[in-house]
Symmetry: C2
Subunit: 324 residues, 2 copies
């Protein structure tokens, strides 16, 4: 592959669009970020994506039309063949089937490939990050929800297209209600959305906590990863209690996966996973141990290495990979 | 493959040795069964295996030394390369590392390959049975314990050698104690051993049940699959309650597996699975539904087709497969 084989990568999120330009060695040449438009629907989103990749290209001192392709990691259900995305609920005004590849291709003049946001981030960790020396591992994105996936023989296992829902493995029959509407899922105990709902409920019932003060201090309306990290650092009892419960649920779901698939490792990413870092990754490892069927050969547990860039880097890999 | 390409298959169990001879089309030419020796250790076991395959060959009207090989499915941890098995706790006097392949080879004069008993039974269902048209499925052996495995791209996924422990996926954090010593595993609710222990406990506490009368009538000391089937058919309340709980736990573990791997199907075998048949397979399917992340595309759920012969047939496949 020539070093001038330049690619674009887009991590399309509900609040921001992260754009990068990389070379054939996956070296970052330019990086830009724009806010995801809250009105204007798919065309507005495509225009902002084109603008963001234009910014990144400019910072890389290259012309957008020199890119060999642009990969986009998006929420929702992707049909890579058709270049469409559906059920991208986090994207304002993007209900129904959105021909995102075509829209961005028209706006940039460059070929576009789509992939699922969590999936491509996992691909990036597998190829360039914490999983690059592991032939098999389970990836867990501990964020607003719990995303995941399994890498087998170095490749993401897709099943019939919907594999990887580690967050919706059931760790407690008849357990807590999950944001997905089902009961007892890992995400019901560990997802940031579920954690915040539980914290608000306990607070409304009179429980003391520093979570709300931390949120206000940061000028936030949501309990972001940094709000949780702040409360944990300041020995907030409720934060510790809820995060411990999250660690237990994650560890249980991951251990079940390990018992089923006997993978070599576990890579933990996502907003909370990255923010809480190695200390909590090792807590998850410790909490897995009582559930492991072969405890004397436990998998390695690591924090994802590519951080915020995993989504955009993984998206840029779509350009290389004909199977996506 | 010539039709005279004859193979031997052995299903080595704690109570019996099932031996078959098949031709190149997997057609059963001879079948014999002997009791597993309760004394004499590995050499006695090897001698009885040789005797059983000799009986099966005689019934097939062929000479044992015409077999191109003998495959053995055994409990315990198999090192296929070394031809050894360890931790075969169900086999009397076979503690430690047993060079089973060599012992049987010496006793028969025919090359021997070893595989895990549950694993080879699953291979048989994948190649010749209920999974033969499925590119990916999860196999569940509902018996004394809960065995399992996943078939991906038509092949059993082995992980680092210990994959497939669906029975030890955790469906209830802090749940019931499992025969494996851990808590909340599928097997703690669904395995025949756990079911019997629970029934005995409830009976000792004064609960009425027909399970014990059914057992005595059949002259048995254990609650076999037929005892449970009998009690269910006679509307025994405790039997229904415990089997319903087993169905829920199995369905939860299987649904978690489907959410993780998005496989095409589920094949349910094992003593209880086969005995309770399609009615209960469909109950498991129904109980899975509330947990499925993509309920509109649920996997097919089927009973294993090869019944008691799956182990011996799968073992005979080891002779063909260089990867085992």
């Amino acid at each position: 592959m020539p070093v001038d084989h330049l690619r674009g990568g887009i991590d399309l999120g509900g609040t921001k669009i992260e754009a990068i330009v990389v070379d054939g060695d996956h070296k970052l040449l330019g990086q830009a970020r724009r806010a995801t438009p809250t009105s204007g629907g798919p065309q507005a989103v495509a225009n902002e994506i084109a603008g963001a990749i234009g910014d990144a290209a400019k910072l890389a001192s290259v012309d957008v039309n020199r890119l060999s392709g642009i990969g986009i990691g998006t929420p929702g259900a992707v049909d890579a063949q058709a270049g469409t995305v559906t059920s991208a609920k986090n994207l304002p005004g993007c209900e129904g089937v959105v021909p995102l590849a075509e829209l961005v291709q028209s706006a940039t003049g460059v070929g576009v490939r789509l992939g699922n946001d969590v999936g491509v981030a996992l691909d990036a960790e597998a190829r360039l990050g914490a999983g690059r020396d592991l032939a098999s591992f389970v990836g867990v994105f501990w964020g607003t929800g719990i995303g995941g996936g399994v890498i087998l023989h170095g490749k993401r296992w897709l099943g019939r297209g919907a594999a990887g829902e580690l967050g919706h493995m059931v760790v407690k029959m008849d357990g807590a209600i999950c944001p997905c509407g089902r009961r007892g899922c890992v995400e019901a105990y560990a997802g940031r959305r579920a954690l915040e709902a539980r914290a608000r409920k306990e607070h409304a019932e009179g429980r003391k906590t520093k979570l709300f003060k931390a949120m206000e201090k940061k000028g936030l309306e949501r309990m972001t990863s940094s709000v949780w990290a702040h409360a944990l650092e300041h020995d907030d009892e409720l934060a510790h209690e809820l995060i411990d419960r999250a660690v237990d649920a994650l560890a249980t779901g991951i251990a079940s996966t390990v018992n089923l698939l006997d993978v070599e490792g576990v890579v933990i990413g996502g907003g909370l996973g990255t923010r809480l870092g190695d200390e909590y990754a090792q807590r998850i490892r410790d909490a897995m141990r009582p559930h492991l069927f072969v405890p004397e050969r436990e998998p390695v547990v690591r924090v994802a290495e590519l951080g915020d860039l995993s989504g955009a880097l993984g998206a840029s890999l779509l350009v290389l990979d004909r199977t996506h």
